[in-house]
């Protein structure tokens, strides 16, 4: 890139009238024109490069468009019992007290999203609590303690774990982990939030580990060398010098891990039990997450139904939430990268 800039500079210098006043000689590079086909191909590349932007905008527009009529269509609102029925408890016919119920199929569709939100929150928080400490510790080992050879084996191994399809992790949680958890803890339900969180951790750990390890390794050597020279022990260097210096990177790792945990579908769909209950604090009860609801129900709804619209609304919320998390996480990493590059100069 720099050399190219040099070249460009050279060209402009050649094009400028030089100190010899004789203008008879053509400046270098003026006799040659880039062929039209080359320029066309280059323009095609520039246009195609917008595909990613187009995709992200299109995803949002398409999903939001399906959800939007919910807010303007009085008939659709009536069918679900008013917009406030989405969030607030209500005394449904046949029930004694006000309750949050997600029961989209039936004479009166009950589309209260609170059970889905609590289910998502429960599984996600459990998975994050389990996976972040393990990921950080593993990142500390690989970046600070492991020798070169060991690292060359460990990093690909953990990358390999990241490449296991989530349906395989879901299957493993469903068939193996669920039975193991039940026989160990004697849980009432074989499939529950805890099993789903275990499976989910397997998906998040490689992601959080990789980002955290990069962050720990990006801490300038001078810092740890200085601390070691002052007589600090290795663990003191790690805990008081390297970790604080890598804190933004670790935060980014957590945020991106959280985004992945909220958005993961197959594992929770297969292992969480999928009962829509409002029970935030019992890990051994079942949970129905937003993603699992979408995967399980969208195939059976008639397009345009209020239920269909609510599902797309959930999808929009999911998209928006993960979008913000990713923006924040990626922003932190970008800023760090720029700072490190600036320091290197």
């Amino acid at each position: 890139m720099e050399a190219e800039a040099e070249l460009a500079k050279g060209e402009t210098r050649a094009a400028r009238p030089s100190f010899t006043p004789a203008p008879a000689r053509k400046p270098l590079g003026q006799g040659f024109k880039t062929p039209l086909s080359h320029r066309l191909a280059e323009w095609a590349i520039r246009v195609v490069a917008f595909a990613a932007i187009l995709a992200i905008v299109l995803i949002f527009v398409v999903i939001a468009r399906e959800a939007l009529p919910l807010f303007f269509d009085a008939e659709a609102q009536d069918e679900i019992g008013g917009l406030d029925a989405l969030l607030f408890a209500r005394v449904w016919p046949g029930y004694d007290e006000a309750s949050h119920i997600w029961q989209p199929v039936g004479e009166i569709p009950k589309l209260n999203v609170i059970p889905l939100l609590t289910g998502t929150l429960k599984v996600t928080v459990l998975a994050m609590l389990g996976s972040t400490p393990i990921s950080f510790l593993a990142a500390i080992y690989v970046s600070q303690y492991a020798g070169h050879r060991v690292r060359e084996v460990l990093k690909p191994a953990i990358e390999l774990l990241a490449s296991v399809p989530s349906v395989v992790l879901g299957f493993f949680a469903l068939v193996v982990l669920a039975s193991a958890v039940q026989s160990l803890f004697g849980t009432t339900y074989r499939l529950n939030a805890f099993v789903a969180a275990l499976g989910l951790s397997l998906a998040i750990i490689p992601l959080v580990f990789t980002i955290a390890e990069d962050a720990l390794r990006a801490v300038p050597r001078e810092l740890s060398s200085a601390a070691l020279a002052l007589g600090a022990r290795k663990h003191q260097v790690i805990l008081r010098v390297i970790l604080p210096a890598a804190l933004p990177g670790l935060a980014a790792a957590t945020i991106l891990g959280l985004g992945r945990a909220i958005g993961e579908t197959m594992i929770v769909l297969m292992a969480s039990g999928n009962a829509a209950v409002v029970d935030l604090f019992d890990p051994t009860s079942s949970a129905r997450t937003i993603t699992a609801t979408l995967a399980a129900e969208l195939g059976e709804v008639t397009p345009g139904d209020p239920h269909w619209r609510v599902l797309f609304l959930l999808g929009t919320v999911l998209f928006a939430f993960t979008f913000v998390l990713n923006r924040v996480g990626a922003g932190i990493i970008d800023r760090l990268g720029r700072r490190l590059r600036a320091e290197a100069r």
């Binding site: 280059e42 490069a49 990613a52 990921s135 593993a138 490449s163 993961e264 993603t291 998209f319």
Partner: protein, 314 residues
């Protein structure tokens, strides 16, 4: 490293706390690594242990019986391969072009380039089920129905229904970031001297990019393509509504056909089968095939990438 039996002189020089903390952190971090690697081995080991004995030539080359509890998984293997092939054809050229733009054409301070990068980062973080909603809402219902209205007005749905082409296009969008990021990285690893030499010899920028830079970055780009294929082959959530079928008595030969899929097969059989116990051997064997596919692809990618990196570091 330091034990209590060390000469006291040194410990007075270094008035630090007991190294127990050091040992504790070392042990804890080692335990975490061990836990992660053991989990990986546990998953792979358990799947192979129960899956490999069930594998046979018939299992790989026969169609399943209609209750999915007998026969083989040929349609699922075929469907997965067909899907990823279509996905690669549709998505990879776009990804590579974007990578070329970011690495070769966009300037460092280009606003457009940073916007494209941000979009790529965000695209990589969109939950896979949201891609499923997008595929259904956009490809099946907008593009497909639009084609039907234009080409076959008044007839039943021809394009406007779940089909392998819509699943492939959805996955092409999903795997776009993988291709873009690896292509850009691979192009940036090509030494600038090569570009300077080509330009200096009078090649146009286009010739330099396509005849000099791109061939040199080929192994790295191939890595990205393989990673994208591996990712695409394993994703299930985006194809649930856009084309995957529970059971199909024929092999799809048309872009508008539905298809069977290894991952979807595992999902459907393990959650919707009335008789999970008798399905268990088949499930493990199917997972074995799926894991072999993704691991094989990923290991190839890792080896290729290491080779590509070594090539450009003198």
């Amino acid at each position: 490293m330091s034990t209590p039996s060390e000469p006291p002189k040194r410990s007075t020089l270094l008035p630090t706390r007991t190294p127990a903390g050091d040992r504790a952190l070392h042990a804890a971090s080692l335990a975490a690594v061990a836990l992660v690697t053991i989990s990986l081995f546990a998953i792979v080991g358990k799947v192979l242990w129960e899956g490999v004995p069930v594998l046979s030539v018939e299992f790989l080359t026969e169609a399943p019986s209609s209750d999915l509890l007998g026969g083989g998984i040929l349609p699922s293997i075929y469907g997965t391969v067909l899907l990823t092939l279509l996905m690669t054809v549709c998505g990879v050229p776009v990804g590579i072009a974007t990578g070329i733009y970011l690495a070769e054409y966009a300037s460092h301070r280009s606003r457009t380039a940073s916007l494209v990068r941000a979009a790529v980062q965000n695209l990589a973080g969109v939950p896979s089920i949201v891609f499923g909603l997008f595929g259904l809402g956009f490809f099946v219902m907008m593009v497909g129905r639009g084609l039907d209205d234009a080409l076959y007005p008044g007839e039943g749905p021809v394009w406007g229904q779940p089909a392998v082409i819509w699943s492939a296009l959805t996955l092409a969008v999903l795997t776009l970031p993988v291709v873009i990021v690896t292509t850009e990285e691979a192009l940036r690893q090509v030494p600038t001297e090569l570009r300077a030499a080509a330009l200096g010899l009078g090649a146009t920028r286009f010739q330099t990019t396509f005849k000099i830079v791109l061939p040199n970055a080929a192994p790295g780009i191939l890595t990205g393509v393989i990673l994208a294929v591996s990712r695409g082959a394993g994703e299930v959530a985006p194809i649930i509504f856009t084309g995957a079928a529970n059971f199909l008595p024929y092999l799809p030969t048309d872009a508008r056909d539905m298809f069977m899929h290894l991952g979807y097969h595992v999902f459907a059989l393990s959650t919707q089968s009335p008789n999970v116990d008798s399905a268990r051997p088949f499930l493990f064997a199917t997972v074995t095939v799926l894991l072999a596919l993704t691991f094989g692809l990923n290991l190839t990618a890792i080896v290729l990438r290491n080779r590509a990196r070594r090539r450009h570091t003198p």
